[in-house]
Amino acid sequence: MGFFSSGFSGRGRSDNPDLPPGQYLTESFPVLSAGPTPRIATDDWEFTIATETGKVHRWNWAEFRALPAEDVTTDIHCVTSWSKLGTGWRGVSLDTLFSGVETSAEFTMAHSYGGYTTNVPLDDLLGGKAWVAFDFDGEALEPEHGGPARLLVPHLYFWKSAKWVRGIRMMQSDDPGFWEQNGYHLRGDPWLEQRYW
C-alpha cells in the first residue's frame, strides 16, 4: 500500500479466521461502562418486554430462572478493538422470552438499570442469536460485567449486549440508544466494522 509506520513490525499477526477486521485477541475480560455499576438485588429485579400496543410482559427473578436456559459458547467483540474467543455463558434465549409476545414492530430498545439503552433490530434478537445471560464461566455474572443479568447479542459489537438489562421496548423505527447517540453505529456488525457512524 506504500504507506507504513517506519520501524513498526507488529507482534500479534493472527490468521485466526474468527477475528473480525481491526480486532485483536485478549485473554482478559475488560470492563467498559459509562457510569457507576448499579447494584440490583435479585429480589428487586424484573425483566419486561413492552410492545407497541402497550402490553407489558413481566418476569421476576424466580419466574425468569424457571424458564429453560441454554449454555452458550461464543466469541465476543468490543468496539474498542478487543475480542475474546470461546466465552462461556448461560442464559435464556430471547426466542423463549418472545414466544408469547405479539408484535409487528421491527425494532427494539433494550433498557438497563442505571439508565443505559441500546437499540437492536428484532431480527438480531431472534433465531437463536441472543440471550439474557446470568452466568459467565460457570459463575453468577459479576455486577461489573452486568449481573444479575445482561443481554448477550454476540454477533454484534459488545455494547449492544446491555449490562444490567431490565427490559425491551418494541419500536416502529430504529431510534438510537445511548452510545448510538454518542457517535457509535446504529447496528454495530463487527464483520462489517460498523464502529462509528
Binding site: F4, S9, G10, V31, S33, P36, N182, Y196
Partner: protein, 243 residues
C-alpha cells in the same frame, strides 16, 4: 468516520514509561476535552494494529496530542513510546466519544478523579478549562504511585497556582515528593470524601483509571450520596499490564 494520514511532529517524554506525541493530521476538525482517537499502525508487509488513546491537548489548542503509557505486553504502545520518531507516519481516526467530555459550556463545578494514566483525558479538560479562562470550579484528585510516575506533575502544580478556579489534590500511593504534607496512602472511602466536592455542591464527576480504581471510587461516591447520573466513568484495564 475513516482513517486519515498523520505525521508525528513532536515527541516529549512525560515519565520513564510514557510520552506525548503531537500528531499533524490534514483537516483535523478539532476535538472536545475528554475525547479519544484511534491510532492505526501499518507494518511494511501491510499488517495493521489499532488502539484507542485519549487526547491530552486542550480543545482550544486545535492541536492533537496523545499521551501514551507503555504496556508491558502491549503491541502498539511500545512503538509509540520507544519507537516512533518525528516524521514517522501513522493513521488517525477521530475524534470519537460524545459522553466522557467536558464541553466547557457552563460553570457547574467539575470534579475530576484520575488513577495513574487515567489522568490523560482529565488533563485535556484542565487545559481546556485554563485556556478558555473558564470560571467553572474545577477540582482534580490524582491517585498515582510516586512523583516520578505522575504525568504532568510540574504543569499541574503550576496550573493549580496560576488558576484560582482549579484545585489539585494528589494521593501518592507509594512515595511522595520531599516534605510532602501527607505520607503515602491509598485512597479510601474516607480520604476520598475529604478530597472531593460534597454532594450539595452538585458537581459533575469524571473518573478515569483502571477498572478496580474506577469501580471502587464510583461505588464510594454513590454510597456517599452523589447521584449516579452525575458520575461519568471511563475505564481502561485488562488489556496489557502497566509495570
Amino acid at each position: 468516520m475513516s482513517f486519515s494520514p498523520a505525521v508525528v511532529s513532536a515527541v516529549r517524554a512525560e515519565t520513564d514509561n510514557s510520552r506525548t506525541l503531537t500528531l499533524d493530521v490534514d483537516g483535523w476538525p478539532g476535538h472536545l476535552a475528554g475525547q479519544h482517537v484511534d491510532i492505526r499502525l501499518t507494518a511494511e508487509d501491510g499488517y495493521t494494529a489499532v488502539r484507542s488513546y485519549s487526547i491530552a491537548s486542550s480543545a482550544d489548542s486545535k492541536a492533537l496530542e496523545v499521551t501514551v503509557d507503555k504496556l508491558v505486553d502491549g503491541e502498539v504502545s511500545p512503538y509509540l513510546v520507544d519507537g516512533a520518531d518525528v516524521g514517522d507516519r501513522l493513521e488517525v481516526r477521530g475524534p470519537a466519544g460524545g459522553w466522557f467530555v467536558w464541553p466547557g459550556t457552563d460553570d457547574r463545578p467539575v470534579q475530576l478523579i484520575g488513577g495513574g494514566s487515567g489522568i490523560v483525558p482529565l488533563m485535556a479538560m484542565i487545559r481546556s478549562h485554563g485556556d478558555a479562562g473558564s470560571t467553572a470550579p474545577f477540582r482534580l484528585l490524582y491517585s498515582v504511585r510516586s512523583p516520578t510516575s505522575a504525568l504532568y506533575f510540574a504543569e499541574l502544580m503550576r496550573r493549580a497556582v496560576d488558576d484560582e478556579h482549579l484545585r489539585v489534590d494528589f494521593a501518592f500511593t507509594r512515595e511522595t515528593p520531599p516534605d510532602w504534607p501527607t505520607p503515602p496512602h491509598r485512597l479510601t472511602r474516607d480520604t476520598l470524601e475529604e478530597s472531593v466536592y460534597p454532594p450539595e455542591d452538585m458537581a459533575e464527576f469524571f473518573i478515569c483509571g483502571s477498572t478496580p480504581f474506577v469501580e471502587s471510587v464510583a461505588n464510594w461516591l454513590v454510597d456517599a450520596g452523589h447521584p449516579p447520573e452525575r458520575i461519568k466513568t471511563e475505564r481502561f484495564g485488562g488489556i496489557g499490564v502497566s509495570p
